[in-house]
Amino acid sequence: MRLMMRWIAGMALTLAVQVARADAPRTVDASFSRAPLPAGVKAGWQHSPYAADDCSICHERNDRKNPGRVAKNGTALCLECHGEFEALKAEKYQHAPVFADCMKCHNPHESQQRKMLHADSVYGLCTACHQGVKSAAETATVKHDPVTKGRACLSCHNPHAARVEKLLSAAPFDQCIECHSRPGLTDDKGVPLTNFKQLLAENKVLHDPVASKDCSACHTVHGGENFRMLTTAYPAKFYAPYDPQNYALCFGCHNDQVVAQPETTTLTRFRDGSRNLHYVHVNKAERGRTCRACHEVHASPYPHQIRHAVPYGPKNWMLKVGYEPTATGGQCAKTCHDTKPYVNRAPTAVAR
């Protein structure tokens, strides 16, 4: 009874979080004061004309207490000096506020933030409008530190214009690898994270999303509910009872029938005649071998990203997979089991 109540409470909480996220508007139109900071508040960054007491550069008069109206409205005034922003109009993806009103993001006089940005942080400024991101980042089970700390959004996004959608400063992988190639990078539990520069230097057979530089295909970047911010479930262990739901990440692209069909000559080359060996290995009620038992997810030295070795058992002994292609199919040398070749060039006529 207690277990059931806990389950109901858990489901209710999950549902409440989902409803809250669904109700939160993705983007709103926030606004900030454009006046100088209040007296006594120290500015971290001042606009050069304001710092030089040259109010007439922008205003009617050179009178700090009563400068009058600005000479031009909107971005036209800013572009008189900041003319290089005109070129951004030719870029494929533009941030709407940039060409509507620079002061949506910048205080024209001074601020405590670099570049005279409003709010108390880059994250605070961006999420004043982008509330969907704020919600995702703060309610995520697995958080991504670059989203909320340090340069925050500017770690990955160009706030003015970009050549990659979502205003990314570069292709996703090129962004991610800037951090995910630093020696000693760990997660919040101290577990070392993969050094991708090193991984890809040593392993040339790339999973399609990696080859496409599209980390977002599998990872939610602002924060997520799954291990390593994966978009959906992926088995964490070597063995698992077969349930297609547990392989939602892989089956998002890969055909689930490759594991569901005991016989096939079309779905996979991992077959002995028509006997589907994916089915044999994976589709078990108890000790199904999960995808990670044989396949690397990012890159491998072998075709189909077959692993060289896989962590096995409580002490993570590296169990060699021992895969070798053969003239008529392939085989795995004796490790998990005796060496067993398979032939995939003709349908088998013999039922096993």
Binding site: S48, P49, A52, D53, D54, S56, I57, N62, E80, C81, H82, G83, E84, F85, E91, K92, K115, L154, N158, P159, H160, A161, A162, R163, V164, E165, K166, L168, S169, A170, A171, P172, D174, D208, P209, S212, K213, D214, S216, A217, F251, G252, C253, H254, N255, Q257, T265, T266, L267, T268, R269, T328, G329, N344, R345, A346
Partner: protein, 251 residues
């Protein structure tokens, strides 16, 4: 006595079977019955006639200069891809491009029709009987785009992408049609890093020099000199700053 509806069903069944046999035969001649029939750029896809989702049959290829064969199945990623492709298709409509959807015969036809309709992608969709083409090309995943030139030669295989999907498809098509060159294609495939304004030292110098010029015009040489020096700190070659500084320092 055969009822008309049974005769219809039989003839559809015969047509499907005939198409399958023809497809396999044509494919067999293009790809040997071996395990190495993995589609690669340069491989030629044989033309064939396949059943169409809306009824009847259609040839896979037309006289278009580019063909995009879209292998899909009902599911979230195929939905995203087909929806993106609907936007791409509008851009590509004026070009010699034929986009053809391919769905497995194992997917109920009504489900496939509804799925395509919901994505608003308006393309012919053909039924890949027994996954014959999918297997022969070893597509191995859904969604996937196999892109061929006018000679039915594969020039690109585009898997699912969360981001930049349409940009890359458009770039590949435009490159194949000769509208953009290799350099431009590479720029799309690998866009590099977009700098922030503060990364552009020349632009930073220009701003400071412009402020200095305006201060000088108002007779504020002290302020102007600071601005010119800030400009030269960012870009020692800024001519306006050098000239302005010289004018301010004149006795």
């Amino acid at each position: 006595m055969i009822r008309p509806e049974d005769a219809d069903a039989m003839s559809r069944c015969f047509l499907r079977s005939a198409c399958t046999v023809a497809a396999v035969a044509l494919l067999a001649s293009a790809f040997p019955a071996s395990s190495d029939a993995l589609v690669k750029p340069g491989a030629v896809v044989q033309d064939m006639t396949l059943p169409a989702l809306g009824g009847g049959a259609q040839r896979l290829f037309s006289d278009a200069k580019v063909h995009i064969l879209v292998f899909f199945r009902p599911g979230e990623r195929s939905r995203e891809t087909l929806t993106e492709l609907a936007a791409c298709e509008r851009d590509l409509r004026e070009r010699s491009v034929r986009i053809v959807g391919l769905v497995s015969s194992s997917v109920p036809l009504e489900e496939a029709s509804t799925f395509v309709r919901e994505t608003q992608l308006q393309i012919p969709v053909l039924v890949d009987e027994g996954d014959a083409l999918y297997a022969a090309l070893e597509v191995m995943q859904h969604p996937a785009l196999v892109m061929t030139d006018g000679a039915r030669r594969v020039f690109a295989v585009q898997p699912y992408m969360k981001l930049r999907f349409c940009d890359l498809v458009r770039a590949r098509v435009r490159h194949q049609l000769g509208e953009i060159d290799d350099v431009r294609l590479q720029a799309e495939l690998d866009p590099g890093r977009m700098p922030l304004p503060s990364d552009d030292r020349v632009a930073v110098a220009r701003r400071h020099a412009m402020l200095g010029r305006r201060q000088l015009e108002k007779g504020n040489c002290a302020g102007a000199l600071k601005s010119f020096e800030a400009a030269l700190a960012a870009d020692p070659t800024n001519a306006n700053a050098l000239e302005g500084k010289r004018r301010c320092e004149q006795p």
